[in-house]
């Protein structure tokens, strides 16, 4: 056996993992996690997975589109709040389901969410009305955030706003959204968010069975987004996208409209985030401004960065690893969590720009080969549009 063949053999397990990465992820999410975790931990895993949607979207737009969005929380929040509005109205409609709605019924405002009654809002605002119907809510979650994202991105990229500026704009949007939600307490629940709902179309969300069902729905949807992402990247559209990231002006000279491509991918990422937000509300029973603002939005970027900004599957692992670490720290030594995540930001950016996925690649190809195949994570990524 030649040395080369031997080396190839020693790489075999890594090659296997690489080839079947999606299958392995599916087995992990659909079989290993649900079978090995008790109900409470499974709920946590489901919560993490709903952030995974954002991370997958960020890989698409950041890793392949060169657009760093520091405002994915906006779209996550839109999805989360729309779902919570529907659930809250359902809770308010059957006054028996919770004690506080009974209270508002007592005040003669049946059908009105409790926090509105507390803030002496007497009539349901018109933009709450359509959220009585599931037939409106779900399409709204799928369409509105994506549409908002598309318009925002298209308008800005049309004007050739640079990548750094766009990041700051998304950052400002995340800030605005949190400020408005907290400020308009009577309509949005303010700093407490929208909470205290138990049923989704009659299904009790607190039961273990409902939790397991919700977990599976989330996991399947997440796998679907990864598959859609893969499909987009493998298509011609994905090729153009990478070309735009690396040399936007050349793509423009070739007759493409980079703004359209970038806006499309940005809205796909927003759609993913909104789905994640909706699943979050369903499982955690909460829509909160603390998941909308600047801090959570940037935290979502680190999920993708840790997993590997060029790897859709890596993003899911990144989310799981970082979120698990967060829970671990907050349960054991809270004061070190910020040190940990702060260092994580620095270390990943400085020493491992390709994230866990690039580590994997190194193991698979051996150090030397990986160097030559190095993906343009560094310099080329930024020169795209100036």
């Amino acid at each position: 056996m030649s040395a080369k063949a031997m080396q190839r053999k020693s790489m075999a397990p890594w090659n296997f993992i690489n080839r079947h990465a999606l299958t392995i992820l599916a087995v992990l999410l659909l079989v290993v996690i649900p079978l090995s975790l008790e109900s409470f931990r499974l709920g946590l895993a489901a919560k993490y997975l709903s952030f995974g949607f954002c991370a997958v979207g960020i890989v698409l737009i950041w890793g392949y589109g060169g657009i760093l969005s520091l405002g994915q929380g906006v779209f996550f929040g839109l999805g989360s709040y729309m779902m919570a509005m529907f659930l809250k109205l359902e809770a308010a409609a059957n006054a028996d389901s919770s004690s506080s709605t009974a209270l508002s019924a007592f005040f003669g405002q049946a059908g009105l969410p409790d926090f509105m009654a507390w803030n002496s809002v007497e009539k349901l605002p018109w933009w709450w009305e359509p959220f009585h119907y599931v037939g409106f809510t779900i399409p709204a979650i799928l369409i509105i955030p994506a549409l908002v994202a598309f318009v925002l991105a298209y308008v800005n990229f049309r004007k050739r706003v640079g990548p750094v500026y766009f990041s700051i704009i998304t950052l400002a949007l995340a800030g605005i959204m949190a400020i408005v939600i907290i400020g308009q307490q009577g309509y949005t629940g303010g700093i407490n968010g929208i909470t205290d709902f138990k049923t989704f179309m009659g299904m009790d969300l607190d039961q273990d069975r409902a939790k397991v069902i919700m977990y599976y729905v989330t996991a399947v949807l997440l796998l679907l987004t990864v598959i859609i992402g893969r499909f987009i990247l493998k298509s011609r559209l994905g090729k153009v996208l990478v070309a735009i990231r690396d040399r936007e002006d050349r793509v423009r000279f070739s007759g493409y409209d980079p703004a359209m491509f970038k806006a499309f991918v940005f809205s796909v990422a927003a759609l993913f985030s909104a789905i994640g937000g909706a699943m979050f509300s369903l499982q955690v029973g909460l829509a909160s401004p603390s998941l909308v603002g600047i801090v959570p939005s940037i935290e979502m970027v680190i999920y993708a960065a840790v997993g590997g900004r060029l790897s859709l599957i890596g993003a899911v692992y990144g989310t799981l690893v970082v979120s698990y670490a967060k829970t671990f720290f907050s349960e054991n030594f809270v004061q070190y969590w910020l040190y940990f995540i702060g260092l994580l930001f620095i270390v990943v950016v400085m020493f491992l720009p390709g994230g866990l996925a690039s580590l994997m690649e190194k193991l698979r190809l051996g150090k030397k080969q990986a160097e030559t195949l190095k993906t343009p994570v560094g310099k080329n990524l930024e020169t795209g549009s100036q």
């Binding site: 750094v164 500026y165 605005i176 950016v349």
Partner: protein
């Protein structure tokens, strides 16, 4: 609305303007001249504020007779501490990331989280306040109904002095010439014998030092807590971006506009809505002028 109220509103606007200007000057240098996005800028302001707080405690213990001047020394110390920190930061972290502005954002964000926790753990999880020096207490009584707080007047003066010195440094000194040269053309600057790495480090440190001065002067208006910096950072970025990077005068003008808007908007609507509508307005303006309101028209 009578004259007094108008004057009061204008003064509030002026005060907010100088505060924004102090905050934005440092960032404008770091972001505008160097293209580095320092998300830890707010935490550097907090560092300046904490330095002033430390100075106050030191004076209370050892030189209680000189409490009157501690604040001036505190400002100088704040500048020195943040300048040194900025220098180390540039050498240790930022210089490896010059080619990757988006990554710099993430790395400095990580740094800001670490700094926050450091303040919380080693200084105080609660907000701290510094004693106001005696000659800054009270107000300047213009008429019976109109009075301007002395501390705010002091900040206005400080902002003028600071921006004048920055202007002098950038446009009238050898160092300023080097900084401008490196900004305009790094390669040629290196070729004519400017040590570009040293200029980078100095410029970055200068920007950080200015953040320290800003933070130090804020201690007169508000208390300082571990997350104080984070609440400043978005506003600061918006001022710089709105004014057009690479243009210090633009930054000052944009700080003026934002200051007046903030003061007037808050007069007509609730604080949160005022902030939100200003940010929205800025995004709209950026749509029409993507490089900022006062972008210099240069070909690149």
């Amino acid at each position: 609305m009578n004259f007094d109220m108008l004057a009061m509103q204008a003064f509030t606007g002026l005060s907010v303007f100088t505060i924004l200007m102090l905050m934005a000057l440092g960032l404008a240098i770091v972001f505008g001249l160097m293209g580095v996005i320092n998300m830890a800028h707010g935490e550097l302001m907090a560092m300046g504020a904490y330095t002033t707080y430390g100075t106050a405690i030191l004076f209370e213990h050892y030189f209680p007779n000189f409490m009157g001047v501690y604040f001036l020394i505190g400002i100088v110390l704040a500048f020195c501490v943040t300048f040194a920190f900025g220098y180390v930061l540039e050498r240790g972290l930022i210089r490896f990331l010059y080619q990757r502005p988006l990554d710099t954002m993430l790395a400095t964000w990580g740094l800001s989280l670490i700094l926050q926790q450091t303040y919380r753990q080693f200084i105080s999880p609660k907000e701290v306040e510094v004693p106001t020096v005696s000659w800054l207490q009270g107000a300047w009584q213009v008429t019976d109904t109109l009075s301007f707080p002395l501390s705010r007047i002091f900040i206005i003066g400080l902002a003028i002095v600071t921006s004048a010195s920055v202007y002098f440094l950038l446009f009238k000194t050898r160092w300023g010439l080097r900084i401008r040269a490196v900004t305009q053309n790094r390669t040629i600057s290196g070729a004519v014998g400017i040590n570009t790495e040293r200029v980078d480090a100095f410029t970055f440190a200068l920007g950080c030092g200015l953040a320290g001065i800003a933070g130090s002067s804020f201690t007169m208006l508000a208390s300082t807590g571990p997350v104080t910096g984070q609440s400043y950072i978005v506003d600061t970025f918006i001022v710089v971006v709105f004014g057009g990077v690479e243009n210090l005068l633009g930054t000052i003008a944009s700080a003026f506009i934002m200051g007046q808007m903030q003061s007037w908007f808050e007069y007509f609507m609730s604080g949160s809505m005022a902030r939100a509508s200003i940010l929205l307005l800025v995004i709209i303006v950026l749509y029409f002028r993507p490089n900022g309101l006062f972008a210099s028209k240069v070909r690149r």
